[in-house]
């Protein structure tokens, strides 16, 4: 069988030339490049290891100190200053759960609503919409203590005047994580391709029907992931709560609107940790383990959710 093109010497020459060039290209990598590559990769790996070392040190420390205090009583007993062996986190855990429930109630509708407005309705050529965008990015970077002061001035006292109640703490945390939720929801909404919107609009659906029936359902996994990550941030926040009344020793189960005070996990851990006695240190470490487990579980769930339901377009 004759090779195709063999009849034309020009083709044979061209093929030979191309082969020679390819061979030359494949073979040549200057030695300096190889060394530089290796060194650079090594440095990058080191950066990863430093980051991991921090987490690892924290985990080892917490487990070494706290594992002795880990028990079911830890979750079900109220705190005590007199009997560290019987002290637990019950009101703090309940307080934290109620706090994040309030955060979710506030942040889901407001966050998604704001994201929808910015992505679907706002005219990006208008300067005020761009200003809003930049400000939301900035808000996400504002230190949490500032939100504590804001909560104290506007929610606990001032216009809302709710007093030092759990709901006020919840609202403060919600404001803190709201920018995160908006940003995550916007990403998720933006990931829905325009072809879907056009397809829907071309069938005579209104803009709202398109958003309600196409854009929102398609972006739910991304939005949910953002909400979970935001909530886990809220769960770990201490500073703003100290300002808006998460008090120290609450031995009863807190309720959202009671003026008797409330506590939260990170605040309770802090209060055990500052005590000089060894037993309270162990208690604090055990509390850290509980929180880490909860936070890691939530974040893993968020990642799983994202990978499982993420729409590939």
């Amino acid at each position: 069988m004759k090779e195709p093109g063999a009849a034309l010497p020009r083709n044979r020459l061209a093929t030979a030339g191309a082969r020679a060039t390819t061979r030359a290209m494949l073979g040549s990598q200057p030695r300096g490049d190889v060394i530089r590559n290796t060194v650079f990769a090594g440095l990058l790996l080191l950066a990863v290891l430093i980051a991991l070392a921090g987490l690892l040190a924290l985990l080892i420390q917490a487990f070494a100190k706290g594992s002795s205090a880990l028990s079911l009583d830890l979750l079900t007993n109220p705190p005590s200053t007199a009997f560290p062996d019987r002290a637990g986190f019950r009101p703090a855990i309940i307080g934290s759960l109620e706090l994040i429930a309030g955060v979710i109630l506030f942040v889901v509708p407001v966050g998604i609503g704001a994201a929808l407005y910015l992505e679907e309705y706002a005219d990006k050529t208008k300067w005020w919409n761009r200003l809003i965008e930049v400000n939301i990015q900035n808000l996400a970077a504002v230190p949490s203590i500032i939100y504590g002061i804001l909560g104290l001035a506007f929610i606990v006292r001032g216009p809302l005047d709710l007093g030092f109640i759990l709901a006020a703490g919840s609202l403060t945390l919600a404001l803190l994580v709201l920018p995160m939720v908006i940003i995550a929801a916007r990403e998720a909404i933006r990931a829905v391709p325009d072809s879907i919107r056009q397809g829907s609009l071309a069938l005579g659906a209104t803009q709202w029907q398109t958003i309600r029936r196409q854009v929102l359902p398609a972006s739910i996994p991304g939005v949910a992931t953002g909400v979970i990550l935001a909530v886990s941030r809220a769960l770990g926040e201490t500073a703003p709560l100290l300002l808006v009344g998460a008090t120290v020793f609450v031995t009863f189960d807190p309720t959202p609107f009671s003026p008797d005070g409330y506590s939260a996990m990170p605040v309770q851990i802090f209060n055990y940790a500052v005590r000089p006695q060894e037993e309270f240190q162990a208690l604090a470490a055990a509390g850290i383990i509980v929180m880490l487990v909860v936070l890691l579980a939530m974040n893993s769930f968020a990642i799983w959710l994202r990978n499982r339901y993420e729409q590939r377009w």
């Binding site: 005219d123 397809g199 609009l201 071309a202 069938l203 005579g204 029936r213 196409q214 398609a218």
Partner: protein, 297 residues
């Protein structure tokens, strides 16, 4: 003729008053069929310009598009075929800065009139896009989406089956209506998009290079489908493929890019519009001949 028109006018106004809606929502089949051998006009364009942020994209297009014809828009890239197509169902409204000038009549009504609601327009004038864009839902829900949005609740199953049959897809998907539409092949997805479009019983279907992302076999199926569908619908198709225009269309419009004197600005211009037969065998304009014979483009 005159009396017929006035009767249609009165009837239309009465229905308008009853529906309390924009003039365009009147279904065209209720109108008088202005008789005889001449075909009824779906679209009448008189000096239509399209501008994006003040820059002309398509300039002074005048043409009539006939009912139950397949009308093809052909021409080189950037000549404004798709831009022109998107005027017909007001999809250009979605692009910020887009502006349509001139007169564009749909069954005699000004499509860009002040009372016209673009949402109503799109119910009557469906669109199939270049890349198949099924919704991330089941096959059934894809087809049922339009009717549901329009508030149709009775006999959704029937509508879905009829639409899928009309799009020649029923036999391939009848046993897996609940599967995600993304599991279909490209050609099946495009026929699903056509079924989705038929499900809201439009009057006209616009197709924007519907086969450009498909293999030859799927393309053939969609072309067969177009010839079947023109029994019921008026079809306007943008295509890159001249053979396709020759195979499926009754009339062909050839558009071309035109430059201004200093070659700074470019826009699309209608060069020739005629029976497809004539465009491909005996065009009047030299540029059309060069293009269809493959000398340029």
């Amino acid at each position: 003729m005159a009396t017929e028109k006035s009767r249609a006018e009165t009837g239309r106004e009465a229905r308008e008053a009853a529906a309390g809606r924009a003039a365009i929502s009147v279904r065209p089949e209720f109108r008088s069929n202005s008789g005889g051998g001449k075909k009824e006009k779906v679209f009448e364009l008189k000096g239509v310009d399209v501008l994006y942020s003040g820059v002309t994209a398509v300039k002074s297009i005048s043409m009539d598009i006939h009912r139950k014809d397949v009308t093809a828009l052909i021409g080189p890239s950037g000549c404004g075929k798709s831009t022109l197509l998107r005027c017909f169902n007001r999809m250009n409204d979605l692009i910020p800065g887009a502006e349509v000038r001139g007169e564009l009549l749909y069954h005699g009504e000004d499509l860009y009139g002040p009372k016209v609601d673009p949402v109503q327009v799109r119910k009557l004038i469906g669109m199939v896009f270049q890349k198949p864009n099924p919704f991330p839902k089941s096959i059934y829900d894809n087809v049922a989406f339009g009717p549901r949005v329009l508030g149709e609740k009775d006999d959704l199953d029937g509508t879905v089956e009829r639409s899928l049959r009309a799009a020649a897809l029923w036999d391939e998907v009848k046993d897996r209506l609940d599967d995600n539409a993304f599991g279909l092949s490209g050609g099946q997805q495009q026929r699903l998009c056509i079924a989705r479009c038929i499900a809201v019983s439009p009057d006209t279907i616009l197709m924007d290079e519907p086969c450009s992302a498909l293999d030859p076999i799927s393309t053939g199926k969609i072309e067969d489908l177009m010839i079947e569908l023109k029994e019921q619908f008026s079809i306007v198709i943008v295509t890159h493929n001249m053979q396709q225009a020759a195979r499926v269309s009754d009339r062909t419009a050839f558009l071309m890019v035109e430059l201004d004197a200093d070659e700074q600005n470019r826009w699309g211009r209608l060069v020739e519009y005629d029976e497809t037969e004539r465009i491909f065998t005996n065009p009047t304009d030299r540029r059309t001949e060069d293009y269809v014979s493959g000398k340029v483009g």
